[in-house]
């Protein structure tokens, strides 16, 4: 199962060193803390729990950012290569930088997690999976979702953003990653879902 999905900024140019990594959207499926309490919890504890969750996601985003930077270094292509995109050219996710790493228990999640990430121009997309998840399926799902997000949120057009489009993002997530469940969808199923999606989102 997938524990969380996030979209964040990537800094691929060395000039962006000063810029912070910003989490633009995050969805955590379910909660890590599952202790049943006898009495009413103090508001401050609830705040702390929320804060902890936000910080965990930020930690993941930062790690993906640095992993992406290191990968860019090794590719040897100038960083500017990754930032120019002609408007009508369909983006090929085959060459998009991608990777995987493990988060040991306690750092930052309570248990072991595996992070699968994909970078498209200046945005990073990451899946935080449970250990021993089917990574092949997770990779396929991530690519599929990123393609849908790029298309329906029109992220490649000039001046378009991922913020203020949370409803579309949520609907796309609910189709392809409902409650964090990875689905074994063959191409026809995907097409049916995409048709349903276009119908929903065009309203």
């Amino acid at each position: 199962m997938v524990h969380a999905f996030l979209i964040h900024t990537l800094h691929t140019r060395s000039g962006d060193e000063a810029g912070l990594c910003r989490v633009l959207y995050s969805r955590v499926f379910g909660s890590e803390r599952l202790d049943q309490l006898a009495e009413e919890p103090v508001p401050r504890d609830l705040e702390k729990e929320r804060l902890g969750r936000k910080e965990q996601i930020l930690a993941v985003a930062r790690q993906v950012d640095s992993a992406c930077k290191l990968l860019h270094q090794t590719s040897g292509r100038p960083a500017s290569d990754f930032l120019i995109q002609l408007p009508d050219e369909p983006i090929s996710l085959q060459d998009a930088p991608a990777g995987v790493f493990r988060l040991p228990p306690g750092d930052p999640f309570c248990e072991n997690k595996t992070v699968l990430w994909l970078g498209v121009l200046s945005l990073g997309f990451a899946l935080v999976c449970d250990p021993h998840e089917n990574l092949m399926l997770a990779e396929n799902t991530l690519r599929l979702m990123v393609k849908c997000l790029l298309e329906h949120l029109k992220l490649l057009s000039q001046g378009s953003d991922v913020v203020l489009k949370a409803d579309k993002t949520e609907i796309i997530l609910s189709k392809f990653l409902p409650h964090g469940q990875l689905l074994f969808l063959n191409d026809q199923f995907v097409q049916v879902l995409e048709k349903e999606l276009s119908a929903c989102l065009s309203k």
């Binding site: 199962m1 919890p41 804060l51 930020l58 270094q73 040991p104 991922v162 409803d167 409650h179 929903c200």
Partner: protein
């Protein structure tokens, strides 16, 4: 993408004040209360979501407002966008104490799914997980109203059991087991009927749906699976896909017999005498309890998937799915066999055939890992020899697919997960460390922390020396792998014909050049080769130096110091005398032969010199045993400049451990000889005769040499007058204006040290005590030693008795 506009939006959202937020919320309240759920409301809700989610610290929303959001979300004809945004806002606020949502009365599957996502985000403080679980099962049990689909509920169920398997009772799991059997095995094999698009020209008679097909277009002749293709799908076919997607999690949580033991990773512990080779056949399966029946059907489904993965998919995404299905099917079969060992024989034969089919196909390499895991878990119980499978895995896969980051990651995870089994039972694991290092060399940032866990398992008395050499050559390995890849992608026609006598013009040419080919082959070997000598790599290292600024090579070089440190800390625990000697020799030899990256060399020298200290402390006698080599090293003037760290520590080691106390074989002649060599070195560095040039070297080297020479002198007392004379000359020299100008403040320190040592030498026995203390004195424990502690105790007693009450303050 991420524009400046977005950046400023985020900043505004972060900086919005509580008062403004209150006004905004009341605006939304009025819109919602007027049942205005149009574009303006949606826009406002989107902004509210941004405000609530953008800050780390939570925003306070009025509890009445929260209630309103909950009500609107549950309205029967609420537009999907509004519903989704309300749910998202409520989730962002979680855990929230003012939430009054409950799933108890909800009949609508879609709404239940949405409401549950908010409830699950609360963290189970009020047993939300269990409540949702109960509701979901209840809805699944009953008949859903027209137009609704259970397919929104299965992922929710899957989430619940992954969070807390104990939320469902046995009756409930049995019910779900029964349903899952139906969905998995008995889904329709006809294509679904497309919803008529309506319109004036559409024919009222819809076309008869055809049968489903396989991924290669052939008509399907067996039951429906995730690899079955149709133009349009029926409800039960959807449920088939969802059921398979959650099957692994379900079986792990509820499939095992006895008390709930979710996610147990133990190898199957089966009493061999109960092994049955004949598993339940289909005809009698109806008599099986639901759990066992599900197991049976799941097994059949997996077998069918394995068979379906043999077909050539017409579309690439289907091909990718085939691989994912294969991996999942093997993993599920592994779980089934752990729960019921009667399936083991059937699975073994099936997987052996599968392995034969895919072992030559690199595209399916990732499926080899779960196959190997299966054999690892079950071959013992089945007494089957799986050596060939492990050998193929360890020798072929890393060598051919090191450049695939996800495969490299999964491979290393496999090693880590099974490290105990691999070290105890698989000799091929330790022997294939060169292959494992290839994965690290290519993917260093991602895999370094995994390797820190794995390296200790690879180290043994038989592999230590070779691993040390390979570790020091990690950047070379990265460079060689790069050349190997580039060479493989250059077409044969482009590869220039070489003249064997001429030197290769580039690294790429050198790869095929007869002079260098065997060196490349040695570096890129797949198994340990202890008899080969790493010295043959010297020309190759020089050739590859041209790639020193290649980022991948630099990244590989960065991981070496930390691994070296780990290496020595592990090896020193089990190394015996001869091995330690070998290690020191390698250390001395390789300090010269390192890959040409200045920062890399400096770091490695630093680590090696500190490790030398460690080795000497463990085995002090190594200094005497290796005195010849150490002296040769210390006597080479070039070493002072190039390898100052190591030189300093070698000299220190000689001075410290070349004594009778450390090794009985130490003779006075040896000490005299060592003294002469070191004295000559000091002469070189500090020319006491006037000369045109004054060479400079680090003051630390000078002081260390002085101190060590003095130590040696105290052990062979004939040398004392010679040393005293030398020291007085040193003093005079360092008081001269020329030296002061060169060494500035350091010359004072050197002077002070020289004076100290001189004074010590005036009292030989004291000097010996100070400079070469015996073990008991070197680590004093005055309070334990009865002789030493008696005076102290008496003193203390006297004071107490004499002073009386006045001794205790206050």
């Amino acid at each position: 993408m991420f524009t400046a506009g977005a950046e400023s939006l985020l900043r505004q959202a972060r900086e919005i004040q509580d008062e403004e937020l209150r006004k905004f919320s009341s605006r939304i309240t009025s819109l919602l209360q007027n049942n205005d759920l149009g574009n303006e409301t949606i826009d406002c809700l989107q902004r509210l979501f941004l405000i609530v989610s953008v800050t780390k610290y939570g925003r306070k929303l009025d509890s009445k407002f929260v209630e309103l959001l909950q009500t609107v979300m549950c309205l029967p004809r609420c537009p999907q966008q509004v519903q989704v945004l309300c749910a998202a806002i409520l989730r962002e606020m979680s855990p929230c104490s003012s939430l009054t949502l409950s799933c108890d009365e909800i009949q609508d599957a879609k709404l239940l799914s949405l409401v549950s996502s908010v409830l699950l985000a609360q963290g189970n403080k009020k047993a939300e997980v269990s409540a949702v679980g109960q509701r979901v099962v209840k809805v699944l049990e009953g008949r859903l109203p027209e137009g609704q689909s259970s397919r929104h509920l299965l992922p929710l169920l899957s989430k619940i059991i992954s969070l807390s398997p104990a939320s469902l009772t046995e009756d409930q799991t049995n019910l779900v087991n029964k349903r899952m059997v139906d969905w998995l095995r008995y889904a329709s094999v006809q294509q679904g009927v497309a919803q008529p698009s309506g319109g004036f020209f559409s024919s009222p008679r819809t076309r008869q749906p055809g049968p489903i097909t396989e991924v290669d277009g052939a008509v399907s002749t067996d039951f429906f699976t995730v690899l079955s293709i149709g133009q349009c799908y029926t409800e039960d076919q959807w449920l088939n896909v969802q059921t398979f997607s959650m099957l692994r999690e379900w079986l792990q949580s509820y499939g095992s017999d006895g008390a709930n033991s979710p996610h147990s990773d133990d190898k199957s512990e089966v009493d061999g005498s109960v092994m049955s080779m004949v598993s339940a056949t289909s005809t009698s399966s109806r008599l099986l309890p639901p759990k066992e029946r599900l197991r049976e059907k799941a097994f059949e489904y997996c077998q069918r998937l394995i068979e379906q993965s043999n077909r050539r998919a017409l579309k690439k995404p289907d091909g990718d799915l085939q691989k994912a299905c294969l991996i999942e099917a093997i993993t599920i079969m592994d779980i089934i066999c752990r729960q019921d060992s009667s399936y083991v024989y059937r699975t073994l034969s099936c997987l052996k055939i599968l392995h034969g089919r895919i072992s030559g196909d690199l595209a399916y390499a990732r499926a080899l890992l779960p196959i190997a895991q299966f054999f690892l878990n079950h071959s013992e119980t089945a007494a089957v020899d799986s050596e060939a499978i492990y050998k193929h895995l360890f020798t072929r896969i890393p060598a051919q697919l090191f450049h695939s980051p996800v495969l490299a990651f999964e491979f290393i995870q496999f090693c880590r997960d099974n490290v105990r089994f691999c070290t105890e039972n698989l000799s091929i694991f330790r022997q294939s460390f060169p292959n494992l290092f290839k994965l690290l060399a290519w993917n260093s940032p991602a895999l370094i922390s995994e390797f820190v866990d794995l390296l200790p398992a690879l180290l043994g008395a038989d592999t230590a020396i070779e691993i040390l050499h390979l570790l020091l050559d990690l950047p070379c390995l990265a460079a060689a792998l790069d050349i190997q890849l580039r060479s493989a992608s250059t077409p044969i026609s482009e590869r220039a014909a070489w003249d064997p006598a001429a030197k290769p013009a580039s690294c790429l040419e050198a790869f095929r050049h007869p002079l260098y080919r065997s060196m490349f082959q040695y570096l890129l070997r797949v198994e340990a080769a202890p008899r080969d000598s790493p010295e043959r790599l010297v020309p190759l290292r020089q050739l590859l130096a041209s790639m020193a600024d290649c980022p991948r090579v630099v990244q590989a070089a960065d991981t070496v110091p930390v691994l070296l440190h780990l290496f020595f800390s592990v090896v020193v625990e089990f190394a015996d005398g001869p091995l330690v000697n070998q290690l020191v020799l390698v250390l001395l030899e390789r300090s010269e032969q390192l890959y040409e990256i200045p920062a890399f060399k400096a770091d490695v020298h630093r680590v090696l010199s500190s490790q030398l200290v460690l080795l000497c402390k463990r085995h002090p006698s190594l200094v005497v045993e290796l005195s010849k080599e150490l002296l040769e090293f210390a006597g080479t003037i070039g070493n002072i400049r190039n390898k100052e760290d190591i030189f300093t520590y070698v000299v220190w080691a000689i001075g410290e451990y070349m004594s009778l106390a450390c090794d009985e074989r130490c003779t006075v002649e040896q000490i005299n000889k060592v003294f002469e060599v070191l004295e000559a070195m000091l002469f070189e560095m500090v020319p006491l005769r006037p000369s045109a040039s004054i060479p400079t070297c680090s003051p630390r080297v000078i002081t260390v040499l002085m101190a060590m020479l003095t130590k040696l002198a105290t052990r062979s007392q004939d040398l004392i007058p010679r040393m005293s004379l030398f020291l007085s000359k040193m003093r005079a020299f360092f008081q001269s204006p020329a030296m002061i100008s060169v060494y500035s403040e350091d010359s004072e320190e050197i002077l002070a040290r020289a004076t100290e040592l001189m004074n010590l030498l005036k009292m030989p026995s004291v000097a010996q005590f100070v400079l070469t203390p015996s073990v008991e004195v070197a680590s004093p424990r005055f309070h334990r030693d009865t002789n030493v502690s008696l005076p102290l105790a008496m003193k203390m007693a006297t004071r107490l008795l004499e002073r009386g009450t006045g001794f205790v303050p206050g």
